[in-house]
């Protein structure tokens, strides 16, 4: 018992700076109930996505044509759609699809954009010119329209949706990372590292990359809601997920014909989109506030 206490005490001493950082962050988050709400929504979404097979009352693609368009009841909490599929189960499974799209898109975009951005910012000259002009071309189009065009060109499927969204989003990260790099590379410690004979690649990856990552990650959290929204939008237009995938945008799309008489068919998936985007945006705002030292001191 004594030993355990000692090890805990020494661990606390060793990590005192991390612990105080964590405490400060917790304090900040506590002060902003909206970001707590965002965090709760996101955690709930993640939980639902992971445990979908266990909590969904029905199979999301099992049809029951005798029971088409049943209104919400104790048997089908959110009713059934035009093929007699349980809407609640489809929304629950749809959570996983939405999160999967979001995670994969950001996993492609964030490293790609940041690497291109820091390369452009650090080396400058024609490398910068090429990368940033290509980025400008992508940014010249509204994101959703460009994603739709690319998605349509590639053919409608979930994978192509991800590719299309990823292609439209990397320039934001590249610009952000480039801007950060431009200011970081003029700082004295980078000069000192060069004077120590550190190679360019090493300066780039071990000094500049970690310093750019915080801003770009914050930006990514703010973009999470956007990705879900665009993916749902593309599915709604028939360019994304194809039936019978339980995808929210697709469910709204197929249900919109029933809006007047069977309102529950398109409404509940729509609510799911709203909730998810809302949750991620609140969380993103909260993370931005916590990670911005100016706001932190002032707040």
């Amino acid at each position: 018992m004594e030993d355990l206490r000692n090890t805990i005490a020494s661990w606390k001493r060793k990590h005192s700076s991390e612990i105080s950082d964590a405490k400060e962050i917790i304090h900040m988050v506590k002060k902003s109930p909206l970001s707590i709400a965002g965090l709760c929504i996101v955690l709930a979404l993640v939980f639902v996505a992971i445990s979908a097979p266990y909590i969904a009352p029905y199979d999301p693609i099992a049809m029951c044509l005798n029971n088409r368009l049943a209104s919400p009841s104790m048997i089908h909490l959110l009713g059934t759609d035009e093929l007699g599929r349980d809407i609640l189960s489809r929304i629950i499974y749809g959570t996983g699809v939405a999160l999967k799209i979001m995670i994969i898109v950001l996993m492609i975009d964030l490293p790609l954009g940041v690497l291109l951005g820091i390369t452009a910012g650090y080396f400058g000259g024609w490398i910068d010119e090429i990368i940033m002009r290509v980025a400008d071309i992508f940014m010249a189009f509204p994101r959703l329209i460009l994603a739709m065009a690319i998605g349509a060109a590639l053919g409608p499927s979930l994978v192509n949706t991800m590719i299309a969204i990823a292609i439209t989003m990397w320039p934001t990260y590249a610009r952000l990372a480039r801007g950060e790099t431009l200011s970081i590379k003029e700082r004295t410690f980078i000069e000192a590292e060069k004077a120590l004979g550190t190679s360019k690649a090493r300066v780039l990856l071990s000094s500049i990359l970690p310093l750019c990552s915080s801003t770009t990650i914050v930006r990514a959290t703010l973009d999470m809601g956007n990705v879900i929204r665009i993916a749902a939008g593309m599915s709604f237009l028939g360019l994304g997920a194809q039936p019978p995938t339980p995808e929210w945008g697709l469910m709204v799309s197929t249900g919109r014909g029933f809006l007047i008489n069977q309102w529950w068919v398109p409404t509940f998936p729509g609510f799911a989109i709203l909730l998810a985007v809302f949750g991620f945006n609140l969380l993103g705002d909260g993370i931005r506030d916590v990670s911005d030292p100016h706001l932190r001191r002032g707040g």
């Binding site: 700082r187 004295t188 410690f189 000069e191 000192a192 060069k194 004077a195 120590l196 004979g197 000094s207």
Partner: protein
């Protein structure tokens, strides 16, 4: 006579800006001998730091080294390729201490780790740890284990400069460039850091190029001094010669501008530093010089030896026999 470690010959550096070509370094000559503490003084913008970065071939855009040789141990650094400089010179044979010690340390890497990065890659992890602690002890840092585990922003300026010195001495360099190492520090800490630097240099038998605008620092620590003005090396000599018997009107002016017990009134140098896009013709100091003659406006003065180890670039001493 100790052997020459570094020799800069006729170095010319220009900066290509939108306003025009800034002639920052205008044919500078400089020699540093083995084991010597050489001070380079001059006011802001006279080219001290650019000369220092030229030694590591790190002159940043839009600066360009136009001409000249920088012979280090007899080999021209400017004609080496980038890999060779990186592998042999930077951080190995020649290291550099910066002006703002806290800014010169990477804010997101722990102190011990930063020093470790400067060490040889061949050592095992345990060896590296031991060596880091040992280096920190060498620069008189109390509780080296604790400091090694902290981040740079947790250090005071003096501490950070000592960490910097530890880092820069870790590769046992033969030349240490110290670019205003004490400017950002308190006077009391300044003296400590300079003493430490001096002791360590003697112990490691290295040479130092100390860049500063503080003549008292030079008088206290250096063996020889070079005085720069607007990209020219106007006077070079031993510390005693420069402080007690300055020859160049600019150096004389600098000396007169230092407060001391004997002088009730401080005398500044009239005028201000010339714009180096359009430097004055001839001697660059002539518009501010009390002794200027017609020839000063036309020709650049040659370097003349006025006593042993003491050279000056001024027409006042033209015609005197060297010796």
């Amino acid at each position: 006579m100790p052997e020459v470690l570094l020799e800069i010959k006729n170095l010319i550096i220009n900066f290509y800006t939108y306003r025009g070509i800034v002639k920052a370094i205008n044919g500078v000559n400089l020699t540093i001998k083995k084991g010597e503490f050489f001070g380079l003084v001059g006011e802001t913008g006279c080219g001290k730091s650019v000369t220092a970065s030229a030694i590591l071939n790190l002159v940043q855009n839009p600066g360009k080294i136009e001409r000249g040789e920088i012979l280090f141990k007899g080999k021209d650094i400017l004609s080496m390729n980038e890999d060779e400089i990186r592998d042999r010179i930077r951080g190995k044979e020649i290291t550099m201490i910066m002006q703002h010690p806290v800014a010169a340390l990477n804010p997101v890497i722990k102190n011990g780790h930063q020093i470790a990065e400067a060490l040889s890659k061949k050592m095992s992890e345990g060896e590296v740890k031991k060596r880091v602690i040992q280096l920190l002890k060498e620069v008189n840092i109390p509780e080296p284990e604790k400091i090694a585990n902290q981040y740079p922003h947790q250090l005071s300026g003096g501490m950070a400069q000592r960490v910097m010195i530890a880092m820069m001495l870790s590769s046992k360099p033969s030349l240490l460039i110290a670019d205003e190492p004490t400017t950002a520090l308190d006077v009391s800490i300044q003296a400590q850091v300079l003493r430490l630097l001096k002791d360590l240099i003697e112990k490691h038998k290295a040479s130092v190029l100390l860049i500063t605008h503080d003549l008292s620092v030079v008088a206290e620590t250096c063996d020889r001094v070079g005085v720069m003005y607007a990209g020219d090396m106007v006077e070079v000599g031993e510390v005693d010669q420069i402080t007690n018997n300055p020859k160049h009107p600019y150096t004389i002016g600098l000396m007169r501008a230092i407060p001391s017990d004997y002088r009730k009134e401080l005398v500044g140098i009239r005028g201000s530093v010339p714009d180096l896009v359009n430097p004055p013709p001839g001697c660059r100091f002539h518009p501010r010089c009390d002794y200027a003659r017609d020839i000063c406006k036309e020709k650049k003065p040659k370097t003349i030896q006025v006593e042993s180890n003491h050279t000056v670039a001024c027409f006042l001493y033209e015609g005197r026999k060297s010796g």
